[in-house]
């Protein structure tokens, strides 16, 4: 359909057009609160980074920055998938286990070549994501429970593959896979490039495709979305599949980076990813969110972690205290912004 036939001839002559019933200077304060919601984390990230670079000579060095970037990459990929899930109003607790499973599968598969090493984790983790999506969308089970089950199941699967973690599969040095994880291009580590590319693609998908529209619509008002013709079930299945896929990919890249499938990784990663997404301005209740924000959220968590390490005298456990406090502040601020909007 190229033209719309929306132009029903209507005479509104002599009738005042309905203007906003609540013109409480709302346009400006609406824009302000949207700005804070979308870019608040970025502002904090810049301030923290600025202060850190003045306080610690070792913070703003090329090595430190590139280390932070590389170690952020894997969490960022997981957070990207999580962003889609959370915008639909769901949650995916299985990503930490899928991350570990993906790493082990990649290392195990690397014996059969790089292609198998990459496709195997994508296939298995993607499939688990599809199952999550099917259960959430068709059986109308709570995402929390469905993905909790998947989290336990995937970790079990990973332990079975590694004989309870006793076997560690190594990735041969010099293989294409190892190069993908450990090498660098134009001064930036390969995983960082991959992450940036994925985020650009993610942003385009979310903002500029019909699927992206449906993701927002399902999270914004599921019943209305269904009545408006959005394929609610398909959208949900796709976001969980995407989340599983990205978690598997992140795990595989991480294994390539470490040159082995480490079984103890990934526990608690789901919560880290959720924190990053929420800190980045995505509403935990769904309907509103930005992939760029999630990237900023991940960086912020990693910078805080780095700064606490820089302080040295401070126990690194405090990094979680700081992250937790920060998350609480963000959520309170979001609620407050949300309430202000309700009033407008």
């Amino acid at each position: 359909m190229t033209t719309t036939n929306t132009d029903v001839p209507v005479t509104t002559a002599g009738v005042e057009p309905p203007r906003d019933a609540h013109p409480v200077g709302s346009a400006r304060s609406e824009r302000l609160s949207a700005l804070v919601q979308q870019h608040g984390a970025l502002a904090v990230l810049l301030i923290v980074s600025l202060v850190a670079s003045f306080s610690f000579g070792s913070f703003a060095t090329g090595d430190n920055i590139s280390n932070m970037a590389t170690s952020s990459a894997f969490l960022a990929i997981v957070a990207l998938g999580m962003t889609f899930v959370i915008i639909t109003g769901g949650i995916d607790l299985s990503v930490g286990s899928l991350f570990a499973l993906g790493g082990v599968l990649a290392a195990w598969g690397s014996r059969h070549g790089t292609l198998v090493a990459l496709l195997l984790p994508l296939a298995v983790c993607g499939l688990i994501g599809v199952v999550n999506g099917l259960l959430v969308a068709r059986s109308r089970l709570a995402p929390f429970i469905v993905t909790l089950a998947a989290m336990l199941g995937a970790r079990g699967l990973m332990l079975a593959l590694t004989d309870e973690g006793a076997d560690t599969y190594l990735i041969r040095k010099g293989s294409l896979l190892a190069e993908l994880g450990q090498g660098s291009t134009l001064g930036l580590a390969n995983p960082v490039w991959i992450t940036l590319a994925l985020f650009v693609a993610g942003a385009v998908v979310l903002r500029r495709t019909r699927f992206g529209q449906h993701v927002y619509a399902v999270g914004g008002n599921e019943d209305a979305a269904a009545l408006m013709g959005a394929p609610v079930a398909r959208t949900k299945i796709l976001v969980y599949a995407l989340s599983g896929l990205l978690a598997g990919l992140a795990g595989a890249l991480n294994a390539a980076w470490l040159a082995s499938g480490v079984t103890i990784l990934g526990s608690g990663m789901e919560l880290e990813a959720i924190s990053a997404v929420v800190i980045g301005g995505t509403l935990l209740t769904g309907g509103l969110g930005y992939v760029s924000g999630s990237l900023v959220g991940v960086l912020l968590l990693k910078v805080i972690q780095n700064v606490i390490n820089q302080i040295g005298s401070l126990d690194s456990s405090y990094q979680q205290v700081v992250s937790g406090t920060f998350l609480a502040v963000v959520v309170v601020a979001q609620t407050w912004l949300g309430r202000r909007r309700q009033l407008m």
């Binding site: 359909m1 190229t2 719309t4 036939n5 929306t6 132009d7 029903v8 001839p9 209507v10 005479t11 509104t12 009738v15 005042e16 057009p17 309905p18 203007r19 906003d20 019933a21 609540h22 709302s26 346009a27 609406e30 949207a34 385009v204 903002r207 500029r208 495709t209 019909r210 529209q213 449906h214 927002y216 619509a217 914004g220 008002n221 019943d223 209305a224 979305a225 269904a226 009545l227 408006m228 013709g229 959005a230 509403l283 309907g287 509103l288 909007r341 407008m344």
Partner: protein
């Protein structure tokens, strides 16, 4: 000129839900360019009919012929694609998405890369909406628009999907008068474009302003169909409520016994000038001790809202409530309860009983603070209160420990009543106290209301059951569109007068007539 084409024909549509025949052999015909009023009281089957038309439910019997083809929609989406769009009472759009994205969701213009063409989308959205009198920045989130403008977006969306039939379920319930006018001109535009409109509303003025034909449903059956102009307001109301005008004076029996309350006593409750945006416009009423004041009016006239506002459950923009002369803090339920106001809500399942708890626990729930000392509940005092009310209200339960969810509707209602009576209220607000309970229990609850009033309580009675309202009340305050349009006292409390007041016949003219007769 040939008569306009038949767009939709519904024949013998029936739908039964467990225990209820919601729709019974109903016919409905719509022609191109017809604005058809669909009316009926609560439970008459309007929403069931709409849901059958739009694919939410599937009929048990009967057929729907749309544009000459027999159809059976499995989902609202199918109906919408075929050309039957629905605009719901509550705006059903995505508040956080932009106006343009809402308008185009599911049929967005795309560029040659398959990506959304935002420029074109925003441009076309602006154009489309301007024909509906909405001029806004379409990139703003929908929720930043006023309700009226949102309603227009929903309408524009419904029409844009090449609708041949547009069903509007109380589209004006949250609109300002100015916005209603715009809506009407849009509806007339649809009519001129050959679209058939089904218009559901309880506001008679609106029906007469835009509709040409009418179908009246009552108890799941079609009781009238014809040109709206052939039916005056009073006949419309009496058809809708099922009261034969000639027989109105020979009233049926209820268990109410009649008058109580001293006419000269100071009011125990005074509500003055209560205003809630879109809902109430300056409602005032007073209740004296021992008096049952009925609150009459059609569905959506603001009866429930009045009770809720008095009980502090709805924040009023202006106006105030005093209990026994003491002003009440506005918008606070605890304050209202402390002052002695108890509200028995309309929907006892969602707003009243806790089905998993026992009769005893349900009764004691609200009164716990009064039955405890230093934060500890005195079991003995709870027992004595609970026993008193089980006996006094004749609650039929196997024991005080039976779960309330297992009791009949009538007994559940009594448990709720007991809960509030345990608070020693001064005023009781009863919203549809006998809805959904069987005849025997109904009579008992009615008798109970009588007894309570005789004990000196002030009672506000809301009921869609005219008999109950007439015979249970000493006075009836009539609401229409959120404002008081009349008050019936003494011998004026009759169904005939009540219906005339609801129908909105000019009271001054009536008064003039009577004066002329007297003279």
């Amino acid at each position: 000129m040939a008569p306009p084409a038949e767009v939709l024909a519904v024949r013998g549509l029936s739908k039964t839900f467990p225990g209820v025949r919601a729709l019974d052999d109903v016919d409905l015909t719509l022609h191109a360019g017809e604005i058809h009023a669909l009316i009926g009281e609560n439970g008459a089957g309007k929403s069931t009919l709409i849901k059958l038309l739009t694919g939410v439910y599937r009929p048990d019997a009967g057929e729907i012929v749309f544009q000459g083809r027999k159809v059976s929609f499995a989902t609202p989406l199918e109906a919408q694609k075929a050309g039957i769009s629905t605009i719901y009472q509550e705006v059903n759009l995505i508040p956080l998405l932009s106006v343009a994205r809402n308008l185009f969701l599911g049929r967005e213009p795309r560029n040659r890369f398959g990506l959304l063409d935002m420029g074109r989308m925003n441009r076309e959205a602006e154009q489309t909406l301007s024909t509906y009198g909405v001029r806004v920045d379409v990139r703003r989130p929908l929720r930043t628009l006023g309700v009226g403008a949102q309603q227009m977006v929903a309408l524009a969306r419904a029409v844009a999907t090449e609708a041949r039939v547009v069903v509007m379920d109380e589209p004006t319930s949250s609109l300002e008068p100015r916005e209603v006018e715009t809506l009407f001109s849009v509806i007339r535009g649809l009519r001129d474009a050959g679209i058939a409109v089904v218009y559901v509303s309880h506001r008679l003025d609106e029906l007469y302003a835009v509709c040409s034909t009418v179908t009246v449903l009552r108890d799941g059956r079609r009781v009238h169909r014809g040109r709206l102009a052939d039916l005056d307001r009073l006949s419309l109301v009496s058809t809708m409520l099922g009261r034969d005008l000639g027989e109105v004076r020979e009233e049926g029996l209820t268990k109410f016994t009649g008058e109580h309350g001293a006419a000269d006593a100071e009011p125990v409750l005074t509500a003055s000038d209560l205003t809630v945006p879109h809902k109430l416009h300056g409602v005032s009423l007073s209740i004296r001790p021992g008096e049952v004041v009925g609150l009459g009016g059609l569905l959506g006239s603001g009866r429930t809202e009045t009770a809720k506002t008095i009980a502090g459950a709805l924040p009023a923009r202006s106006g105030g409530v005093t209990v026994a002369g003491v002003p009440l803090r506005a918008g606070s339920t605890p304050a209202a309860i402390r002052a002695g106001i108890s509200l028995l809500p309309e929907d006892r399942k969602s707003e009243g009983i806790v089905p998993g708890l026992s009769v005893r626990e349900n009764i004691a729930l609200a009164a716990l603070p009064r039955l405890s000392r230093f934060g500890l509940v005195s079991e003995a005092r709870v027992d004595s209160v609970v026993d008193t009310f089980i006996e006094r209200l004749r609650i039929k339960a196997s024991s005080p420990h039976q779960k309330v969810g297992e009791l009949s509707g009538g007994n559940q209602q009594k448990v709720l009543l007991a809960r509030w009576l345990a608070m020693n209220p001064k005023v009781l607000l009863l919203d549809e106290p006998t809805r959904g309970i069987d005849v025997g229990a109904k009579a008992e609850v009615q008798k109970l209301v009588d007894e309570l009033a005789a004990d000196g309580l002030g009672v506000l009675l809301i009921s869609s059951d005219l008999e109950e309202l007439i015979e249970g009340s000493d006075r009836v305050v009539v609401l229409k569109d959120g404002a008081v349009v009349g008050e019936l006292t003494g011998d004026d409390v009759t169904e005939d007068k009540l219906m005339r007041t609801i129908a909105g016949n000019d009271p001054a003219r009536d008064a003039g007539k009577e004066a002329a007769v007297d003279g």
